[in-house]
Every structure is written in structure tokens, then in C-alpha cells.
């Protein structure tokens, strides 16, 4: 039981380290509060964004917390590859530069063959996708899917203001 835990822990930690490096240009790793008794231990994410000191996730800024948590989720996903991934507005807290980094990461994953469906209001995410499905609301609250276009999100949503 404990051996299985350690094996999974090491695998996820490995994924987390490499994903965090790509996403945040820094060092990150998983930490057990009680390494000798993992099944009664807590686990936190420690990271050092480039230039700063190592800190646990609870002490980070809003955007840093999101980025670190996303790296953790991607690490979990790598242990069980699925036919599709759906992310609904995971970029809310991120500044434009970090949205760009996240989008580049998704591009990297999809070149390996994964399918990503990403709901986003952020321009850098939309610009890096291969295509955008525009969703609008018609009278009475009826959803209208306006069609799949390459890199013309402005036309789809009818309003570039949306993407700010």
C-alpha cells in the first residue's frame, strides 16, 4: 500500500517538476509533511519562481497559486492520458504573459496528439489555438454556436472587448 503510494508520488513529482519548469521557469516539487508516514501526511506544493525564494503554495500570489496548481493538475493528467481534455476558464488569475505560457504548453501537448477543448476569454489563449468555437446568446437566453473559425475570434464573438 505504502509502496504503491510512493511510486505514484514519485511519478507525479517527476511530472510536476518538468511541467513547472516549462510553465513558470522555476523549480517546483511536491513535499510531504511527514515523509516517513505518508498515509498520515499532508502534501504541499513548494516552488521557487525564478529569482524568488522557495515558498509553499499558500504564501504565493493569486496568479502564482493558479499557475502552480495548474502544473499539479497537468502532472496528474500525465499519469492517466485521456482522449480529450476540457479546461473551463483555468486562466482567470493569470496575467497576459502567463496566459501565453499556458497556451504554449497546450500547443506543446496537442502536437503530441492530445485533444484540448479550452473555454477562455483571454486573447493570448485564443490566438494560439488552432480554431475557436464562438458561443453567443440569442433572445430569451438561447445558446447559438456561431461556427468554427481559424483565428478570427473577434468575428465569432462579435466583440473584441470580450477578450480583455
Amino acid at each position: 500500500k505504502r509502496g504503491a503510494f510512493q511510486k505514484s508520488f514519485d511519478e507525479i513529482d517527476g511530472h510536476f517538476r518538468s511541467i513547472f519548469e516549462t510553465l513558470a521557469a522555476g523549480d517546483g516539487h511536491l513535499v510531504l509533511s511527514n515523509p516517513d508516514d505518508p498515509l498520515n501526511s499532508g502534501m504541499t506544493l513548494m516552488a521557487r519562481p525564478r529569482g524568488k525564494k522557495m515558498q509553499r503554495i499558500e504564501a504565493m500570489s493569486g496568479g502564482e497559486k493558479s499557475l502552480t496548481s495548474l502544473a499539479f493538475v497537468f502532472a496528474l493528467q500525465r499519469t492517466m492520458p485521456a482522449p480529450f481534455y476540457a479546461l473551463d476558464e483555468v486562466d482567470m488569475n493569470l496575467d497576459g504573459i502567463n496566459v501565453e505560457k499556458l497556451a504554449n504548453m497546450v500547443v506543446g501537448e496537442t502536437t503530441k496528439g492530445s485533444q484540448f477543448l479550452v473555454v477562455s476569454l483571454r486573447k493570448p489563449m485564443i490566438e494560439r489555438s488552432a480554431r475557436t468555437i464562438g458561443v453567443t446568446q440569442k433572445a430569451g437566453g438561447r445558446t447559438h454556436v456561431t461556427g468554427v473559425r481559424l483565428r478570427t475570434a473577434e468575428e465569432d464573438t462579435g466583440n473584441t472587448d470580450l477578450l480583455h
Binding site: 502534501m43 504541499t44 493558479s66 495548474l70 499539479f72 499519469t79 480529450f84 480554431r131 468555437i133 430569451g140
Partner: protein, 187 residues
């Protein structure tokens, strides 16, 4: 394998039938607040029975039926596309045979190509609430069969491939104990 088509009928803010084609790779979904983006994600969770009505923001399953229509039913059908390297030799043969048929053939129109897989779920208002009917490749199926098939692809109610709106905040605010328990589940 990837999702190549989602057909949504009368589900949540979709009044009537909507067909959305999907392709491999990186697709974004965008639009104003309240337009229906998350409802598209919900339609996937609903069809594949990956979450409860509450996770889809409904108090009960029948709340998922479009409230602008008088119809007492809604349905979502998802079509998956398999890649040729995923097919068995038998399936490859079947696919070749299928492709050899003329496009206007009735047989062809009635068949599901061997490299596609469809899952659908329909709910109807019933006396005591609602009833769900599942199909797998157009045959009536059970929730158990569909979950068993999906779990082979690492898709399940507990899998992490679908991140709903707000889930990142949940991971951020998680206690260290809860975070460790996630590793337990995977191990």
C-alpha cells in the same frame, strides 16, 4: 481517439438541436458571460455520466431540460473518432469494407463506421423524477457498460481530464491532507 462531434438537443440553454463538429488538437471556446460555453462542457459530463446534476448547477436532472421549450426530454450524443493505429486488424478490415461501399448505399447509411464510437444519453420526465436511457454505438446500453468502456481510456468521474470552471481555485484552496489523498486515489 478524440471527440469529433457533439449533438446537443434541448439540453440547458440549447433550445432545440445543435450540432458541433470538433477536430483534433487545440480548440478554444469563447463568448460572452452566460452564453453557454460551460454548458457545452456540461453536455460532455452529462452524456458520459461523469458528474452529478449538482456539479452541472442543476438541483435535479430534469432541471437540465431546456426551460424555454415545452418538451419533456433532452439528449446529448458524443461521437469519438478512433485513429487508425488504435484499430484492431479486424476493425481495420471492417473499415476498409465500409469505405469500399458507395456513398449512396443504404447499408452504408445505416452503419456506424468501425473507426467511430458514439455514446448518447437521453433523459425524460417520469412520474418519480426522470429516467435516463444510454446508448453505445446506437445500441441501448447501461451506465455500467459505458463507464467500463470509458475507464479503459482513463475517463471516469474521478479523472482529471475535465477541469470545470472554478476547479483551479479548489486545487489552490485544498488542505494538505486533501491534496495527499489525491495521490492515494491514483496509487
Amino acid at each position: 481517439m478524440y471527440i469529433c462531434h457533439i449533438s446537443i438537443d434541448n439540453f440547458k440553454s440549447f433550445n432545440g438541436k445543435t450540432d458541433i463538429p470538433f477536430e483534433k488538437g487545440f480548440t478554444t471556446i469563447s463568448g460572452p458571460n452566460g452564453s453557454g460555453k460551460s454548458n457545452i462542457i456540461d453536455s460532455i459530463l452529462f452524456c458520459l455520466a461523469l458528474s452529478t446534476s449538482r456539479t452541472m448547477r442543476a438541483e435535479k436532472l430534469t432541471d437540465l431540460i431546456n426551460n424555454l421549450s415545452n418538451r419533456k426530454t433532452c439528449m446529448v450524443e458524443i461521437t469519438f473518432q478512433k485513429e487508425s493505429f488504435e484499430l484492431t486488424d479486424d476493425e481495420q478490415t471492417q473499415l476498409a469494407a465500409y469505405n469500399a461501399l458507395p456513398d449512396d448505399s443504404n447499408d452504408k447509411a445505416d452503419m456506424l463506421p468501425p473507426d467511430k464510437m458514439t455514446v448518447s444519453r437521453r433523459i425524460k420526465v417520469a412520474n418519480s423524477g426522470s429516467s435516463s436511457v444510454y446508448t453505445l454505438n446506437s445500441q441501448t446500453s447501461t451506465l455500467g457498460e459505458i463507464h467500463e468502456m470509458l475507464s479503459r481510456y482513463h475517463v471516469s468521474p474521478g479523472s482529471f481530464n475535465v477541469m470545470m470552471q472554478g476547479d483551479v481555485q479548489g486545487f489552490v484552496n485544498m488542505s494538505p491532507m486533501e491534496r495527499r489523498k489525491i495521490i492515494d486515489e491514483i496509487a
